[in-house]
């Protein structure tokens, strides 16, 4: 009798301990991920810009100066212009890139044509090359096409390279049952109609996932813009922020917050789609 009671009590303490440890780890994890973000937010509200005037992680004095200079002092660092440039490049590449990727993935999933296997293997092998191994060639080609120092050059590269990552999307389309296609085809719909009217409405999660990845890549890329954009007026935010030193730390933090917020909001709204899209792609890849 007593022994059984002790056993129950032991199991109970074990359970409590288990919960306690779990929460402890969770708090630590949350702190680790949250603290650097908070540090940047605090830093953006510091009155003096330089990192040397901070008391450790915290600014000595608080104020909105960094945000004011960010948008008004545009002689040296024209942040508003950079922001608009980035927005333009990212949105255009997102639209074109998403369309191309979805089309590629759909064809690879639904059609069985002669060069299909060869194309799949080629993309697999191409994906193993270091990504900017070809950047020198891209640079030389862009000079030949006269697209250096122009936003459309970047957009062209981003959207043209996007279909290479069609695998996740193909995995998603593989999970949509063929019976939908067949039923529609019996009703006399063409393949084009099947795709637009039946498949697309079903693939909202993967559309969102694709658009999001196609948007964030140019939004935060720095290699290509740094190489292809020479004029300071044409810079994207990534290249522009890289040119800020330790004495401009507050301005860097403020600029970072403005570039990070749209992405963060997007991610939180769409996190459900993201999980579904990634999981679907991973299992079937």
């Amino acid at each position: 009798m007593n022994q059984a009671k002790m056993k129950v009590a032991k199991a109970k303490t074990q359970k409590v301990l288990n919960i306690l440890i779990t929460y402890c780890i969770l708090v630590v994890v949350a702190f680790v991920f949250f603290f650097p973000c908070m540090w940047l937010v605090l830093a953006s509200f510091s009155k003096s810009g330089s990192i040397y005037s901070f008391d450790g992680f915290f600014p000595a004095e608080y104020g909105f100066d960094a945000f004011r200079t960010l948008f008004t002092d545009t002689v040296m660092y024209d942040y508003p212009k950079w922001f608009l440039n980035t927005l333009f490049i990212a949105s255009m590449s997102c639209i074109i890139g998403t369309v191309l990727t979805i089309l590629t993935a759909y064809c690879m999933s639904r059609f069985r044509f002669k060069s299909r296997k060869a194309m799949m293997k080629t993309t697999l092998v191409l994906g193993m090359f270091p990504s900017f191994m070809g950047t020198i060639a891209v640079y030389l080609m862009m000079t030949q096409f006269n697209l250096i120092n122009q936003h459309w050059g970047l957009i062209l590269i981003y959207s043209a390279q996007a279909p290479m990552g069609y695998m996740v999307q193909k995995g998603f389309f593989d999970t949509i049952p063929y019976s939908i296609d067949e039923a529609a085809r019996i009703d006399g719909a063409s393949n084009f109609t099947v795709f637009v009217k039946f498949i697309l409405p079903l693939s909202k999660p993967i559309l969102v996932y694709t658009a999001l990845t196609a948007f964030t890549w140019p939004w935060s890329d720095f290699i290509l813009p740094k190489m292809l954009l020479i004029d300071k007026n044409l810079y994207t935010v990534a290249v522009g922020l890289m040119s800020l030193g330790e004495t401009e730390f507050a301005r860097f933090a403020a600029g970072s917050i403005f570039i990070a917020i749209p992405i963060i909001v997007l991610y939180f709204c769409l996190v459900k789609y993201m999980i579904n899209g990634m999981a679907a792609g991973a299992v079937k890849e």
């Binding site: 089309l103 935060s220 992405i263």
Partner: protein, 463 residues
Amino acid sequence: MKAIAKCKNFFKTLSEKLKALPKKLSARFAGAKEILSQGNGKVTASMAVMGLGQLLYRQWAKGAMFLFVQIAFVTYFILTGATDLFGFFTLGTREGNAWYGVEGDNSVVMLIMGILAIFMIVLYIAIYIANVKDAYRIQCAVDTLKEPAAFREEAGALLDKSFHKTALALPVIGVCVFSILPIVFMILIAFTNYGDTIVPPALVSWVGLENFRKILTLGQFAPTFFKIFGWNMLWAVMSTALNYLAGLGLALLLNKACVKGKAIWRAFPILAYAIPGFITLLGFKFMFSYGGPINYYIQQGGGEAVGFLGLDAKWSARFIGLGVNAWISIPSTMLLATGILSNVNTDLYEAARVDGASAWKQFIKITLPYVLFATTPVLITQFIGNFNNFGIFYFLRDGLNIDGYFLASDTDLLINWLYRMSIDNNYYSIGAAISLVIFIITSVISLAVYVLSPSYKQEETFR
């Protein structure tokens, strides 16, 4: 033992495929033989001049299109194509001299244009074959007293039966020009002496395997290469393992029944995931800089400021890189694992509990195999991504030259070295050779892992 058996199996299927190759090829040529022996005069006309056969069969629109392609290609070839193709082999013969006003050949541009010319020829041949096949198809239709398909019908098929051709045209062209062409260019550059002092207007020439010999034997490059390679492997293995296990652990932790408010706990890693990488990296660089907060507290405590990322900070910089990389990549692994865990069949756990399996046993026997199976492809991509992780050390420690290294620092990965060599210092051909080496390493490793993984064998069962 199992691994060896699997490897053997892989090579066995490979050799079987090779043996079947002649048969496959002859099957492919059977079609060509049939056209050659059975085709009538009009098909031969199409062989001589593209589109002629179609025109003779009164297929005006299609015939005109093929004819147009023929004319366009011939014009292109006469105007620039032939010289471009020739230039591909010579890489220029006339050296420019600004002093005498001689405009010389630009070898690099000639190389790119040469590759483009080869692409064009391949494309032309493909269209040419399609043209002959089309003519033969019309002949067959006419011979069997059927009406050959009208142009409007065939154009309509582009949205239906051959929708994939329409849809794939643009992506394929884009990938060819902006992914394949540059890679081909770089592969070819690895076999030339382009770079260092030999940049246009100087003439570049083909040198064969010279660059690889230089990397492996020359005192300038070889020690740096092997040192960086060793660290690169270590880095790739460590960071992949760390990110994978930590991400999986985090997902499992959040998946526990006793955790309340999962959405809130999950929000913190997602926050980290959403912040663009360059901001995180620059932020951490500021954090560990001489005037940064960490050093501030060290000085407050009476210590000396430490150069965490400075010149002689070998291992501290490496560990900071590892940590920062984990901070950036763990959330995505967590999201992925969360998605996969939600797909695990819960009946399995029920059954295991009834049989008295402990939580640990359940994890080892059910969760881990499933997750491992589902994520092997992702694991490979992550490994390659980490092997070629350019951003981390580019932002944390750019531009350092350390003793014993040629144009590199002790934290640099091969990809950083490649960048420094080719973009900043003009060693183009050596850089290209290094990237070929990187490619060979990564592809061999990932292929081996892929063949050994359970996902490989059962790929088609998931269809």
